[in-house]
Amino acid sequence: MTSLQFDIAHLLAGGMLVLSLLLLYQDRILATLNVFALQAIVLSLAVAWQAYVQGAMHLMVTALIALVVKGFVIPAALNRIVYRLGIHREIEQVIGAGPTMLTGLGLIALSILLVMPVNVGVTALAREDLAFALAVILLGLLMMITRRNAVTQIVGFMSLENGLILAATGARGMPLVVEISVAFSILIAFSVFGIFVFRIRERFDTVDLAALDRFRSERSTLQ
């Protein structure tokens, strides 16, 4: 592997991490969706680059799935849901941007400390990709914890899953990656579908606002 190939892989994985950090402090839902779409596009580039470098052309399928499904279809679907729910102006944050970012930095440091010392038999690229991927995963997890809204929770989960795909494609010659990325897409489709069916149908089937309020208040007492 030439150093240029290495640098480009690095750049793309690093770009995903930066976008993960950006995701953490977005307080508008639509902005969150846009940043996520951008991360998915960078992921597809990173996967495509890995496919080219490793000469594993089947990974192009994974790249394509990431680009089409997570870069465009899902953000568009979520966008629609957000508008229909009327929460596109909403601002939500459980803990402030400062503490969240600091925790995020701590998690990045943690993933570097965890993965970097491991080097027996693993190539430098795989190792550093793994550190990036773990950081993206942990930041996605952090995002899921700090958000209350179902839509942004799903975005957190999808960003976590971007990290997983990055890790899986970085592992040279790993079998079933394409199949698993398809399985993950189904999982995500289910979750978006879940928001839609479980949360929205109930609200839109009835025009009785009192019923909706009752539903909401029951939900809040349950949490």
Partner: protein
């Protein structure tokens, strides 16, 4: 390819598609029972067929008994489900459209669990657990009440994070194996991993296990990661609570044990046993105390499941032939007894029209047969003789006293706390001032009492081949 393994996977998969098309609930329920029965036959036939071993599938001593157990409980639960669901349809809690989904998902879950159990490929194992989780999520939310949706959402989010972390662990396992075994499918085949385990990088292997432990531990319902479990048990249909507790938790534990065996084969890795002991004891003590404050009867037994998964995790963490034997026996008996309890609880909640413990009283007067079933189930799950769980808990306690007396004290304390809670809660339910309507129960008692009879038999007399079997697996577990 006509090995029983093919049928084991193909029957439930085909039934999933077929049941998705059948609108009539009686035919659907009947077909569900038939498909589960056929799967059970295929599972038992595995005993007599040649052992399969490819890079994708494996049948060995460890998973064959779990496959049979899963198919058996799946079959009895489908019988229970037929009567249970019939009643739900009558009172209008479910509509026929959703029932179609319900039956299809039931078979999808069985297929996924079988896939997880028989796969040799650690990636495929993960896929099986994921699909089984997804199908149960859908079933938990099937009543579409706000509580059910809340429970399904919580289960979905926590379950997804769990499986995501488990997947990262799986990638790490591949990375650790790839330099030794080479690229491609063999580097994910569990038996090859085990054989080459000693050459792996200890640090990376330990790191992988931590992710797998948290990931699959979420699915097992171990204490800090258990939050989804009581909700999912309480809000979904009761047959699903029975298979969740009886089977899905086992499958997740099975997955974790497979990886534990990998680490045990390597001298320099993390002390996995200690972590599992700690998680097990935390789950046991925590759920023991939580049992006292439960108001919902299904939630009560859900916490009891956390308690028992804690006991099993503790047993496997202790390791050694005796503790492993106890753990395996406990796993089997917990599946049988807990699903039997949920069968009884399901019918009880239906005849009383509520799941609140305070409103279910005096069952011994109003519904004596169900009361006997529940009472026997509670006696069995509390680990009292003559039921088999007494044997497994006794073995575990004595073997831990011999090795780690302090830990054994904590274990005994946890067992007693949980026992007290169950006795306290069940008094009113069984012998309190009777309330509500008497009689009028359309129940299928056969699954309930068959399970209890098996648990009783295990306590009085374990068949010789079974003892040898467990012994062999316990030795394999290390």
């Amino acid at each position: 390819m006509t090995s029983p393994l093919t049928y084991l996977l193909a029957i439930p998969a085909a039934a999933t598609l077929l049941l998705g098309l059948i609108a009539h609930y009686r035919i659907g329920a009947l077909l569900n029972v038939l498909a589960s029965g056929a799967t059970l036959v295929a599972a038992v036939a595995l005993l007599f067929a040649d052992r399969v071993r490819t890079d994708i599938f494996i049948i060995d001593d460890f998973n064959i008994y779990l496959v049979i157990l899963t198919a058996f409980v799946g079959f009895t639960t489908s019988i229970f489900s037929a009567t249970y669901i019939g009643h739900e349809l009558e009172i209008g809690k479910l509509t026929p459209v959703f029932l179609r989904f319900y039956h299809a998902l039931y078979q999808a879950m069985m297929a996924a669990m079988n896939l997880a159990l028989v796969s040799n490929n650690v990636g495929l194992l993960w896929v099986g657990v994921e699909v089984a989780t997804l199908s149960t999520v859908m079933m938990v939310g099937i009543y579409r009440t706000p509580e059910a949706i809340e429970a399904a959402w919580k289960y979905f989010i926590l379950g997804s994070v769990g499986i995501a972390l488990a997947f990262f662990g799986t990638i790490l396992i591949y990375l650790v194996a790839q330099p030794v075994i080479g690229e491609g499918l063999p580097a994910m085949a569990w038996d090859l991993l085990l054989r080459n385990g000693a050459a792996f990088d200890a640090k990376l292997l330990s790191l992988a296990f931590v992710f797998l432990l948290v990931g699959y531990g979420t699915k097992i319902g171990l204490a800090p990661f258990h939050a989804w479990l009581p909700d999912a048990h309480a809000e979904g249909p009761t047959p699903i609570s029975a298979v969740l507790s009886g089977l899905l938790l086992n499958v997740a534990l099975y997955a974790l044990l497979r990886f534990k065996m990998l680490l045990a084969a390597h001298p320099d890795t993390l002390n996995v046993g200690a972590i599992m002991i700690a998680l097990g004891l935390i789950s046991l003590i925590f759920s023991g105390f939580m049992l006292y404050r439960r108001r919902d009867i299904k939630r009560l037994f859900a916490y009891s499941s956390i308690e028992h998964m804690g006991i099993m995790t503790f047993a496997f963490g202790m390791g050694g032939p005796l503790a492993n034997f106890a753990g395996l026996l406990h796993m089997t008996l917990h599946s049988l007894i807990k699903s039997a309890i949920f069968f009884a609880v399901g019918h009880i909640a239906q005849v009383k029209g509520t799941q609140r413990i305070s409103q279910i009283r005096g069952l011994s007067v109003t519904h004596p047969v169900l009361a006997v079933g529940l009472a026997l189930g509670v006696i069995a799950i509390a680990g009292l003789p003559p039921f088999g769980m007494f044997l497994s808990e006794f073995m575990l306690v004595t073997s831990s006293f011999a090795r780690q007396p302090l830990l054994a004290l904590v274990l005994v304390a946890g067992l007693l706390i949980a026992f007290g809670a169950l006795v306290l809660r069940m008094q009113d339910v069984l012998f309190g001032e009777p309330n509500g309507p008497a009689g009028g129960v359309k129940a299928s008692y056969i699954p309930l009492f068959v399970h209890l009879a098996l648990a009783l038999m295990a306590g009085l007399w374990l068949p010789e081949p079974m003892v040898n079997w467990f012994r062999a697996v316990a030795a394999q577990l290390g």
